[in-house]
Amino acid sequence: MRNRARLVALSSLALLGLAACNGRGDDCVSTRDYFVNEVWGPVMSQSCISCHAPDGQAALVNAEFVLLPSAYPGFLDANFDNIKALSANQYNGVPLLLAKPLGLTEHGGGKLFDEDSDQYRRIKDLLDQLQEPVECPAGGEADDFSQVTQLDPADTLRKASLHLVGRLPTEQELARVDEGGDDELALVLRELLAEDAFYDRLSLLFNDLYLTDRYLRYTGFAVALLNDDDVPRAGAWYNAQDDQRKQLINAAVAREPLDLINHVVREERPFTEILTADYTVLSPYSAELYDLSLGFSDPSDPRELKEAKLSAVVDGAQVPYPHAGVLTSPMFLNRFPTTPTNRNRHRARNVFKLFLATDILRIAERPIDPAAATKYNNPQRDDPSCSVCHKMIDPIAGAFQKFSDYDQAELIPDREWYPEMYSPGFGNEIMPSDQFGVAPQWLASRVVDDPRFALAAVYAVFSGLTGQQPLTYPADDATDFAPRLAAWQAQDAVLSRIVDDFVADDFNLKTAIVGVLMSPYFRGANASGELSADDTIRLAGVGGGRLSTPELLARKIEAVTGVRWVRGWDLAEYMLTDFRILYGGIDSDTITTRLTQMSGLMGNVASRLANEVACAVTAYEFTLPADQRRLLPHVTLDHLPDGASGDPVPAAIDKIKLNIQHLHRRVLGEELALDSPEIERTYALFYDLWKQGRADLASGVEGEWMEWQCAGRVDPNTQVELPESQQIFTDPNYTIRAWMGVLIYLFSDYKFLYE
């Protein structure tokens, strides 16, 4: 594994030219940091790269000195490594990296500077340092989050538990982390990753990238994509199943790539297996569709997964399917389809994006000259503005060469590939023709060996858990370049460390997940003081403030209240159906990016949510014995703040405040003293609502009978009527409605709606 430098000594100070000091009060600036701040930024990214980029004039004549632009993940390390490798090359005793721009030897770019120039000094200093590189001890400034106060272990556990498994932590878990601190927290977090609910979350997390849940949109969508010759039961047999079974079978087929990820993570296999698996995974339902007996322990459990190797029918004969994990999943192949002229390039682009952390379209993001392209008969290879991408994309496209352009997952073993395209391969390695039959497997083994694969996995986890994309390296002309660079460096340092841990733990994704959960990007709670303008930018992505997705919010509602917010007629959750798109979710088909900023309409959805959930749960809580209530265990309907004479009833007020304290803890995760201003604010709300309600009752403006929907009439989860003796229809003291108002207040709170 390449040793990624962790200790980026950032600095706006260095960027201002104060190279000797890293601003920490010590003098340690590593050679890598010197390169980043003193050579890359002011010199090489400004002038050298114009010719020495992968598509530049120098690269076209096979120059060894190639600089990757910031669109490439890990570009700084790659460039630093390249310079290290070239640093010993000399011309007449002068390092080539200086001799060329000095014009001492042939240089396509001519003479660029003199020996008394600032550029010369910086490069020379770097080359001198490389003879004995400076390494600094841990604790660099780039990942200095000393101004950030983090959630304590208990609060971190609550946030993570709600997010990952849709429940509140148990008392035992809380006691463990209270006792054991962060070390124990990491263990408890890891235990959460064994729960079934976590795998539901993991599926959603990766579906945000793969979008294969598109095939859940209607029953039969996924099955219809299967090749009838390979899967004879995909036709008449499937159609003969009852509706529920069809739905389960379709879901199993649609979720196959996500289930493979779940299988690999649950079994703690190396995450590389999501591409290198020479098998797929089937549930009892998909296994039946494929007519395979895999020995399921519970044939009705859709979560039970078994590995299976499939075959395809070619000219009437069974041939092994070239399983390469997700890459050869029929769902993946269909979700990223090809055409006869696209020639798998769309798939190749997504291999870069999903598994190599590379947006290939950004690599050549600069104006093209349409007139120039017409000069070439084969512009993809011969026009430099085209070949810069095609020389990377086309070899990977060749790995899918044995699949049909029309029936996307149909295997055609004798299909010939296009000789005018770049040869199938990966990077500079050409795929031997005897590997064409197993080309996806050949590709998979190369992709997982690439350092960018681990980075892509960590990026996926980071995005899913924090709701924000990793920062991109700021553009040279960006306003506030220095603090933006600092923000990027800080995040890069954290993510690099997580990548290292992930790789060191044999690509166990759970390690990456725990790494992100323990980082300030997940745990940041506040800053210890007012932030400077630069620190405000540097820490912009740190900590909470993520708008909960519809899926996360649905789970949170149930976890906190014990009640799901469901449609009465089919018990489907509102946030996963009617309000999913309105609240910024995706359908994995035409709407594929989540909204992360609350709009006015979403604000109204949140208000409706608060009202309906409070309506459903408040009176219902009072139908239950106190020890079974989640929200209102400390009060009865007779706990009234004032007595008949209008005098306060201290004992009742104490109970009411005790329950408010409980609600703040349960609903919002706040540990508050009974005399805290927030308890007082909530109590004042309760009191005002109750007082006004009592007055309205007395005046006849309001009646004792509650609205039908809000009465304690049914179990909100099942809509089944409660026993008559339990039911509550009236609220003669206005207590239920006052508590309902309190719950509306809490369910519409920032801390409930955001993470």
Binding site: V148, T339, P340, T341, N342, L361, A364, E365, I368, P370, A371, N526, A527, G529, L531, T536, I537, A540, G541, G543, G544, G545, R546, L547, D578, I581, L582, G584, T590, I591, Q597, M598, S599, G600, L601, G603, N604, V605, S607, R608, N611, E612, C615, P677, T682, L685, D688, Q692, G693, E707, C710, M740, G741, I744, Y745, S748, D749, Y750, L753, Y754
Partner: protein, 425 residues
């Protein structure tokens, strides 16, 4: 106290609306209903083919579907016969139908050089005027500046809807859900006799407490992401009652068969957008129709999608006419880039690949109709207009000028290269 006045007082006391450092600040704004102009930004996703739309060419390598160009007024177009499935024809519009109906209002800009063959970059350029990441779309800027306080100021059903935080995006689909969201305090919004969850004054008291708490939370919070989120929540709740003005359609249009699903979706989104315009709640809307990336089957698929696109625009204008706001609609139709030049094969199923020089079509108040600007030569290369090759920068200079937002401080944060070359003069 009026809720908005209350908010303003609260914000003034607590410093709310100090927004994220990377995003533009949004402040409490006047909540007067927005009365236009309304911007409808229609994205033909995938790269449409102007040769088969508004930049006709003689029959030959670039065109194998029609003999000679046709004209409607001053606008030349491609008279492609719609040899499509008779079952879907009544729901589509041919070029001839469209241009004859709208040429007097239509400005065609040909020869727009996007300088890219890349879908993402092309879409960004078409709708933000820049190829670089992060620039807000024109719709976002228009909404953020012209009526930022409106709860549905910027509606998007796809395309390029990056906002950089200047305004939130709204998505709308399910009518029932929309109705329930529009009346969050009413138990059953479909029932005119329905009661409320709690009396209105109780809800006001809850909101007061909620907002005071949010103010206190933000005052104590110093990390920028959380502060920005609190600010965003505060702004989203400025006017919970405003959506009650939304005249939600009784039902959304439906078209038969799966082949028209995308057009049906575009039409439904048009209905919802028009309802928002009519209620004075929205400034700009993105409509999106995909399926233009015809690397194969170009003659069938591209022609079908163009006919859907034009049918969708026709439907939008007809519906806007019914509610009397068609005169306030500014419609912009654009795509990632173009296709060509010519086909990538000789067989009838061949397609056209990506080509950077494309076209845009505009109509609405302030846009001179019956006019074509720019052009391409026989090889589909741009012909300079008044000495300048037209680019998305120029188009967006013009749009910003048309919307009256060019000089606004928010717009200035997102500068465009070059200058306004008077495309709408």
């Amino acid at each position: 106290m009026n809720r908005r006045k209350f908010f303003k007082k609260l914000a003034g006391l607590a410093g709310l609306s100090l927004a994220a450092p990377f995003a533009a600040s949004r402040v409490l704004a006047a909540s007067e209903p927005y009365s236009g102009p309304y911007f409808v930004l229609i994205n033909a996703a995938g790269g449409y083919d102007p040769v088969y739309l508004c930049d006709p060419k003689p029959m030959g390598p670039l065109n194998r579907l029609y003999g000679a160009e046709a004209s409607a007024g001053a606008i030349k177009y491609a008279p492609i016969p719609l040899g499509l499935d008779p079952a879907v024809l009544p729901y589509l519009r041919s070029n001839q139908q469209f241009f004859e109906k709208y040429s007097s209002r239509l400005l065609v800009i040909n020869g727009v050089d996007t300088s890219t063959n890349n879908h993402d970059t092309g879409t960004r350029a078409a709708w933000s005027g820049r190829t670089e990441d992060g620039f807000p779309s024109f719709g976002a800027l228009a909404a953020a500046i012209r009526s930022p306080g409106n709860p549905l100021a910027y509606i998007s059903s796809g395309g390029y809807d990056v906002t950089d935080g200047v305004v939130p995006v709204t998505r709308m689909d399910d009518l029932g859900a929309l109705r329930r969201a529009a009346f969050p305090d009413i138990l059953s919004p479909d029932n005119p006799e329905s009661g409320r969850f709690l009396p209105a004054k109780a809800m006001d008291r809850i909101r007061q407490a909620r907002d005071q708490r949010l103010t206190a939370l933000q005052a104590d919070q110093r990390l920028p992401r959380a502060r920005a989120a609190m600010n965003e929540l505060f702004l989203a709740r400025q006017d919970d009652d405003a959506l009650a003005n939304l005249v939600i359609p009784g039902e959304l249009v439906t078209l038969p068969g799966y082949q028209l699903n995308d057009l049906q979706s575009m039409m439904q989104q048009s209905q919802l957008a028009l309802a928002a315009f009519q209620a004075g709640l929205a400034v700009a809307v993105n409509l999106n129709l995909g399926g233009f990336d015809t690397h194969a089957n170009h003659d069938t698929d591209q022609v079908l999608q163009i006919a859907k696109l034009l049918a969708g625009v026709d439907f939008l204008i007809d519906e806007a006419t019914k509610i009397g706001i068609d005169g306030q609609l500014i419609i912009v139709i654009a795509s990632d880039f173009a296709r060509g030049p010519g086909y990538n094969g000789l067989d009838p199923y061949s397609g056209k690949d990506h080509w950077p020089v494309t076209s845009a079509m505009l109509m609405g108040p302030g846009i001179p109709g019956n006019r074509v600007i720019g052009g391409t030569d026989a090889t589909q290369l741009a012909i300079p207009h008044n000495g300048a090759t037209i680019t998305p920068h120029h188009l967006h200079h013009a749009l910003r000028g048309l919307a009256g937002i060019a000089a606004h401080e928010i717009t200035k944060r997102y500068p465009l290269p070059g200058a306004d070359i008077g495309l709408l003069a």
